[in-house]
Symmetry: C2
Subunit: 184 residues, 2 copies
């Protein structure tokens, strides 16, 4: 399956939340701590690959995502593995030469509708966002699914100009770079 | 902690097993399937590093071992992580460019004594072996521990000339190469 996901900045959280509740069901809230790694043999930020350990209260996962780009939507092929301890896996990745480049913490509220998954995020240091995600078979045309996501965003009160193409990792690294430059 | 381990070929399994039972307690028997991986950026067989997924009935683990060589004993620093599914982790390792180079199956009987751990192995295609293992602090001198292991091997009826310095992976790859050459 392929994950089509569009993210947008949220400036009116209370309103957006009310609107999400009117079209979807609340699933759960979770605190996520994401550790991102770069590889010793290829620049994953440049290649768009993602290697991530996600730590939550009840589950820890190792995820690899391979990027396929498309204007304004992120389409990925993704493999995930549950692990007992995120820290043990981090240790082995570091043994192998992988470098931890970011630790991103967020509070995520997850909602489901018949068509999609909606995630309302407060990301430490980066602000508030909403992500709308649809899963489709790998050979399916994505234009329709993207149009559907745009419609959903409109329904929940998020204008198209709020769409944020950059993944959290990139926003995080941009900010770190910007702070680094300011300090100089 | 550092693991000091000496392995030897067993030609008289029944006798060795009786002798092990007279000095140690049986812990459990398990079927292990070990998947070994090489890396895309360094030859792990040459560097002596080990990246292994071990699948057993009740537990799956990802292990990385960094080699430190010493005559006749293998001394390693080891990190291990429990994972839910060995196959999910294998998939991610392959996504990352790691190459599965061996699948080794064995029946292992594990025994404990006050001083050490003893493992009696039947390895598919490679034969019967015993491994004696001691854990010591990383700064401790290893000569004494090695001497202790030699004594234990003697006690359980395994002569010093049966010591096999090569790890299973190397024996497996040697055999594969040998069969490959025979076929040519």
């Amino acid at each position: 399956m392929m994950e089509i996901e569009i993210k947008a900045r949220v400036k009116n959280r209370d309103e957006v939340k009310e609107r999400i509740k009117s079209i979807g069901n609340f699933v759960r809230k979770e605190h996520q701590e994401d550790l991102y790694f770069d590889s010793p043999y290829r620049n994953f930020v440049e290649s768009g690959e993602v290697l991530r350990i996600r730590k939550t209260l009840h589950k820890n996962t190792l995820t690899y995502k391979k990027k396929r780009t498309d204007e304004r939507a992120r389409i990925r092929i993704e493999h995930e593995a549950k692990v007992e301890s995120g820290d043990d896996i981090a240790e082995i990745l570091e043994d192998l030469g992988f470098i931890q480049i970011a630790k991103i913490r967020k509070e995520r509220e997850i909602y489901n509708t018949n068509e999609c998954k909606i995630e309302l995020d407060m990301v430490e240091g980066l602000g508030e966002f909403v992500e709308v995600e649809i899963l489709i078979p790998e050979d399916e045309d994505i234009t329709k699914s993207k149009e559907k996501i745009f419609e959903i965003l409109e329904k929940i009160g998020v204008p198209r100009e709020n769409i944020e193409k950059k993944p959290y990792l990139e926003l995080y690294l941009d900010k770190k770079r910007w702070i680094g430059e300011k300090k100089r």
